[in-house]
């Protein structure tokens, strides 16, 4: 153990099926750099919790390997693995005090009593709950419970920390507070962390890197901003709230389709492709210019802090864009749409 330098985690071809022929996890590959925080992001039922349980040793994979610092830990029982896990529910043991809960991992390792007490105090300090060691578990608030659960997981100085949607049962304000606490604690300790969530905002705000899991596979693993700027597929773009996908063809360094004709980055493979562009990258402008296409405004919706405008291209393909709330738009009128080529990504159709 000893997380000061961090442990590299590597998942290779992980597969798990609960019923024959219905894979929950269908070949997950993931490399996690030492000391980094990676979010496993995906809708419910995509296999992310199953993946986490295989890393923890609570489930055996049907196929594949889990390696810590390039040593396989497959076959090692959960209690022998240098991991700690925080679940969706705090799962504090109800017959123990807060201090006894936090010290549990040390007691099972037969650590000396005085050392346990010191370490428990240190951990409670870390999660900003000092002086609560003697409190009964039933007297804590939801946020406090989850912080105690975090302290309990960290007390044994695990090489890898696994977090399974630990914030999902907290209310919005508390969730953001806890998110910052988790991020702060993780950076302070430098413990390699896998964080499962279905909330893309949480993943983006918290993680060094995000691994998007769809249908039991990692479909893209990158820094958060890449999911917005260079999504790997239409499904990835849609999961991150992208509204615009225009099918077409790439030929001679240009994309054509939906009435658009846009230059594409060198190296884009020719053939069928779909153009993906974020609604935030589009804008309505006054007059024709380079990278500006004629459109017609179909609908405009005022949202307080912004405005969602739907426009139609020459061939009735529709695009959506986010405009400042004060934008004056005339529904039904022609307009000019600025489509910066550098914001466009061509993905396989």
């Amino acid at each position: 153990m000893g997380s000061s330098t961090g442990t590299a985690v590597s998942l290779r071809g992980l597969r798990k099926a609960y019923q024959r022929g219905v894979p929950a996890v269908d070949g997950v590959d993931l490399e996690v750099a030492p000391g980094s925080l990676v979010a496993l992001l995906g809708p419910s039922g995509c296999g992310k919790t199953t993946t986490l349980k295989m890393v923890a040793g609570l489930l055996d994979p049907d196929e594949g390997d889990v390696r810590f610092d390039d040593r396989s830990i497959i076959g090692l029982a959960a209690e022998k693995r240098p991991v700690a896990m925080v679940f969706q529910k705090p799962l504090l043991f109800p017959h123990m005090t807060v201090g006894q809960n936090v010290g549990f991992g040390l007691r099972v390792r037969r650590t000396a009593k005085a050392a346990i007490a010191a370490r428990v105090a240190e951990m409670l300090e870390l999660v900003r709950l000092p002086d609560l060691a003697h409190r009964k578990v039933g007297q804590l608030s939801g946020g406090q419970e989850q912080r105690v659960a975090l302290a309990r997981a960290l007390v044994t100085d695990p090489a890898v920390l696994l977090l399974d949607e630990p914030l999902s049962q907290l209310d919005a304000a508390l969730r953001i507070e806890m998110r910052d606490l988790v991020a702060g604690v993780q950076r302070e300790l430098g413990v390699t962390t896998l964080f499962v969530t279905h909330d893309q905002d949480e993943a983006v705000a918290l993680a060094d890197k995000v691994a998007l899991v769809l249908d039991g596979r990692v479909v893209q693993h990158a820094e958060p901003r890449v999911f917005y700027e260079r999504p790997a597929s239409v499904a990835v773009a849609r999961f991150f709230g992208g509204r615009n996908a225009v099918p077409g063809r790439v030929a001679g360094g240009r994309f054509t389709g939906g009435g658009l004709d846009v230059a594409v980055p060198t190296g884009t493979p020719p053939g069928d492709g779909t153009l993906v562009v974020r609604q935030e990258s589009l804008a309505l402008v006054e007059r024709p210019a380079p990278d500006v296409v004629p459109v017609r405004v179909i609908a405009a919706r005022y949202l307080g802090t912004a405005m969602t405008v739907t426009v139609e291209l020459a061939d009735t393909t529709r695009l959506e864009l986010t405009a400042p709330p004060a934008t004056a738009v005339a529904v039904g009128a022609p307009a000019h749409l600025h489509l910066p080529p550098e914001a466009c990504t061509i993905v396989p159709t």
Binding site: M85, F93, P94, F104, A153
Partner: protein, 267 residues
Amino acid sequence: MSGIRRSVGLGLLVVGILVPFVPLALTAVSSGWRYPALVPQTFTGRGVALVFDPDGEVLAALLTSFTIAVTVAVVAALVGLCGGRALGLHRFRGRRLVQFLLLAPVLVPGFAVTFGLQVFFIRYGLADTVPGVVLVHLVPTIPYVTLVLGATFASFDVSYEEQARVLGAGPVRTFVSVTLPAIRPGLCVAALFAFLISWSEYVLTLLIGGGTIRTLPLLLFSYIGSADLTEAASVSLVFALPPLVLVVAASRYLTGAQSGVVGLGRL
């Protein structure tokens, strides 16, 4: 509930349970109690002497009954832990059938079941032995214990065990430190049931014990048949008091919300 209502309820309960014992206790120490006397006229220590005779059959039967009932409670609880866990935590094919088959020995009269079983007990040399009687007492107790523990496990969240394991606790440590405290009320009630069923079992003990294994119910029947009311009342008290003490002790132990969950209440 207000304090007064609680006290009144408690008082009624105590009266309801203890008053029937008064005539029994009086009979046990009287040598003559004829109509229309309200209390016995003459007293005797004969009943007390019979019960407390160190070489007497009552203390011997008490010991036999106690040994058998405790063993049955422990074994039934161990079997019920496994069966109850499977029934309560897992949704497997044939679960309903298993539940029904579990109840089968309770639905069919014990007499019929044991008549069929007796042959095997004789063949394997278990007839007329304490282990044999323990074994046959498991037939009516395991169903109850398993069903009680099945219900207990059904309301137990296995994630607690997973949490304990990822914190470094092995299977044994997890069971002792996490599972056991959570299911303790149900386990206590289940074992108590098994003890009480075994303690008052007559037919099965007679059939398999063959009269060689003399438990308190067997002894009590022979005293009731002898028409000596003083002795019969004394043995009845010895038979009735231990379960009562046990139930009261258990309800004290399983206090508050726990006792509410298992339907024992606070006595």
